[in-house]
Amino acid sequence: MSFVEYGEYIQEGDIAIVFLGRESMFPVKAQHGTQTQTKYGVIRHSSDLIGKRFGSKVNCSKGGWVYVLHPTPELWTQNLPHRTQILYSTDISMITMMLELKPGSVVCESGTGSGSLSHAIIRTIAPTGHLYTVEFHEQRAEKAAEEFLEHKVAHLATVKNQDVCKEGFGVVGVADAVFLDIPSPWEAIGHAKAALKEEGGRMCSFSPCIEQVQRTCLAMDELGFKEISTLEVLLRVYDVRSVSLQLPDFGMETQVEGDPKETCTGQQATAICKSGVTPKDMAGHTGYLTFATKSLL
């Protein structure tokens, strides 16, 4: 298995996602002789993980059970160790489609951050594309390279530890798409343009603040980018539940002799219906996505 290729059975060295519940999952590396603690008990890798089919139920020592799932970039995004604020699948989906990423695409990205988007890009451009990712923080750059190796996708990615605004992506004229998630993207537009293929390509800049967006759009326009478009996308989730609504008691239909108070039937009737209930809070803003096209004419 790898992040770019499905496998059926868990093998030594594979990453698996241990699933206890929606809000409770974590990645684990299958290794003979190792044990993993969960609140339902211990998982012994040699007997409970290795050789099991992805998607199986695994019984833990205390009697509870968990599922072990095949890793995907989406599950990784939900469970990866944060070194920086990350991009979530909603924005990642939009970026992937609007940059027209597909197998064989060559992509330049900066900053690598915690590698959330990087994993998703690698999955989409495999097996023939390549990701050149630039991170100016030395430890984060190293960690990213380590993870790509561990996830068996290092052949699809090159990590560079430099400042994209000063030195660019390390390649020129090869990219189909460029992605920027840095504090001052307007300083890197020139390098983005150079990294893109001569005949054209797409680029995207992600910024939390509108002032950044304004400066970036100006720089894109000045450097001849076309189709400059800024948007934001938010995820609205519905919790499917049965809701119980009480039915009102309008009283008896015919007057009963005696105490008028007796008109209330005293029945407690309820109606049950299924509803998609909205949560109390939702993510209201992640960042603005600005897309543009480089073309010869």
């Binding site: 499905y6 059926e8 699933f19 519940g21 929606r22 089919r53 992805f54 998607g55 199986s56 139920k57 019984n59 009697g63 509870g64 599922y67 072990v68 799932l69 095949h70 995907t72 989406e74 699948s89 909603t90 989906s93 489609m97 609007m98 027209e100 597909k102 197998p103 064989g104 999955r123 989409t124 495999a126 097996p127 005949e199 054209g200 509108i210 967006v213 304004q214 478009s229 800024t230 948007l231 934001e232 996308v233 938010l234 995820l235 609205r236 989730v237 519905y238 919790d239 499917v240 539940r241 119980s244 005293g266 029945q267 407690q268 309820t270 299924k274 600005t290 073309s295 010869l296 004419l297």
Partner: protein, 480 residues
């Protein structure tokens, strides 16, 4: 290597392209000496052949597309005369001195869009009183109307999804492009996997899936009725080898397949109709195709029946009416043969698809369309391996709520999520940045989840329902 990439980026005859003018798109095929209509104009696309994708053309008289000048002039940013606000500008509809006829004359004289806009500015009595912002807005508006620039784009999911959503949303069940984007990612659609797709969105979703597969792996399209719909899929202009990974399988045979009783060797219904049509004209049927279909016995019968007729035809072939009869019989024979060949091809394709489905180890399921999702997903999930994602799109939320409930009852799924995306575009201009005035009201809903091994034991460990039990009502002394 370079040559290949340049070739990839150059427009060739027969290519499927997308024409773009401002925010209007249209998918067409480039064919020489053929006119296409776009934005109320008839166009000849011959001159775009050999040009790079992404090139913009001016529409010249007669509908030919002219390659652009090497240096497109940008509007000189001189300090124009402008006003401070609009307190003195009266909108009486009389500020523009040029009449509609005048503008038509200018167009006929061959004036380019930019030049017409210039003329409109010079003939507007209120232009110089407008604020700078209002002037820019005015120019932008006129440019949009009179600029006759058409860009030729390479098709992609992004462009086709935008096009269909803007032009014919009904055909794609109002699937908005950001929703489609979510589906592709949630479904982990990538090269090398085996994905089952049910698409009644004109084949747009199928095309999007195929684009993300890049020709690697396989896609099995399940379809209702007689033929799969792939109008939008063609617009992607995929290379031949992509289609080798595309399979199809009819829904009406799913139960047989699940039951293990599907046999594609003797399909009596299909052969009977073929026999009926070809009755009397089967004398020259090639023995190989007949044998393949296992109709050996019937075929031979036909030839036996046919031969006496053929003999009589040969004898009287001199008369013109009989010659006509001969021709008609020959045509019928050809048609019947064609039909047989087609049916054989179809049968082969179904067999290939069945072989892929039989393992029940597909890597994903994508459903999008106007069919009720619940029965579809309950049936098709049986073909999907454990720990694989599935995504269901529906224009309406309620069917997906029901689907969610049924899936919970079925078990074998985790991470069920019912969601929609909210999309907003922005105008970003110095001192004029704000969200767009009009936004999409809705883009459909998605129910997604991950398969897991089905529960064989009824109770093993503590119950872990993801859905919290509904709160109990506070009852007021009813039990009396």
């Amino acid at each position: 290597m370079e040559k290949i990439s340049v070739d990839h980026r150059t427009i060739k005859e027969g290519d499927y392209v997308v024409l773009k003018r401002e925010n209007v798109f249209k998918a067409v095929q480039v064919q020489i000496k053929r006119k296409v209509i776009f934005e109320k104009q008839w166009l000849h696309l011959d001159s775009v052949i050999g040009q790079l994708y992404g090139t913009s053309f001016e529409v010249a008289a007669g509908g030919t597309l002219q390659a652009p000048k090497p240096n497109p002039e940008k509007n000189p940013k001189e300090t124009k005369e402008a006003g401070m606000d609009n307190r003195n500008i009266v909108d009486d509809g009389r500020s523009q001195k040029l009449t509609r006829d005048d503008i038509e004359t200018l167009k006929e004289q061959g004036l380019k869009g930019q030049e017409i806009v210039q003329q409109l500015i010079e003939n507007s009595s209120t232009f110089r009183d407008k604020t700078e912002f209002a002037q820019e807005k005015y120019i932008k508006k006129k440019k949009k109307k009179y600029d006759n620039t058409i860009t030729v784009l390479k098709p992609s999911t992004r462009i086709l999804a935008l096009m269909y959503h803007g032009r014919e949303p009904g055909k794609i069940c109002h699937l908005r492009y950001d929703t489609l984007a979510q589906m592709l990612t949630l479904g982990n659609v990538h090269a090398g996997s085996k994905i089952i797709v049910f698409d009644t969105c004109a084949g747009l979703v199928l095309g999007a899936v195929m684009e993300r597969m890049g020709g690697y792996g396989s896609v099995i399209q399940m379809y209702p009725g007689g033929e799969p719909v792939r109008a939008a899929t063609d617009n992607f202009g995929f290379p031949e080898h992509f289609y080798k990974t595309l399979h199809e399988f009819p829904l009406c045979k799913v139960n047989l397949l699940l039951d293990g009783t599907l046999s594609l060797d003797k399909d009596q219904k299909e052969t009977v109709s073929a026999v009926d049509e070809s009755n009397g004209a089967m004398s020259k049927a090639p023995q190989d195709s007949v044998q393949k279909m296992g109709e050996e016995v019937e075929g031979e019968k036909d030839s036996a029946q046919a031969s006496p007729e053929v003999d009589t035809m040969e004898v009287t072939s001199e008369l013109p009416e009989d010659k006509e009869k001969e021709e008609r019989a020959a045509r019928r024979e050809n048609k019947a043969l064609e039909k047989k060949v087609k049916q054989e091809e179809k049968r082969k394709k179904h067999m290939e698809a069945a072989a892929l489905l039989q393992g029940r180890n597909a890597d994903g399921l994508v459903i999008a369309g106007r069919f009720h999702p619940t029965p579809l997903v309950l049936s098709l999930l049986k073909f999907v391996a454990p720990s694989r994602p599935f995504v269901i799109y529906c224009q309406h939320k309620e069917p997906l709520i029901e689907c969610h409930t049924k899936l919970r009852e079925r078990g074998g799924v985790i991470g069920l999520q019912l969601s929609e995306t909210w999309l907003r575009h922005y105008q970003v201009l110095p001192n004029r940045t704000h969200p767009m005035l009009l936004m999409s009201g809705g883009g459909g809903y998605i129910l997604s989840g991950i398969t897991v091994a089905m529960d064989t034991a009824t109770s093993s460990g503590p119950q872990k329902t993801e859905e919290p039990a509904p709160k109990r009502q506070k009852l007021q002394d009813t039990e009396s």
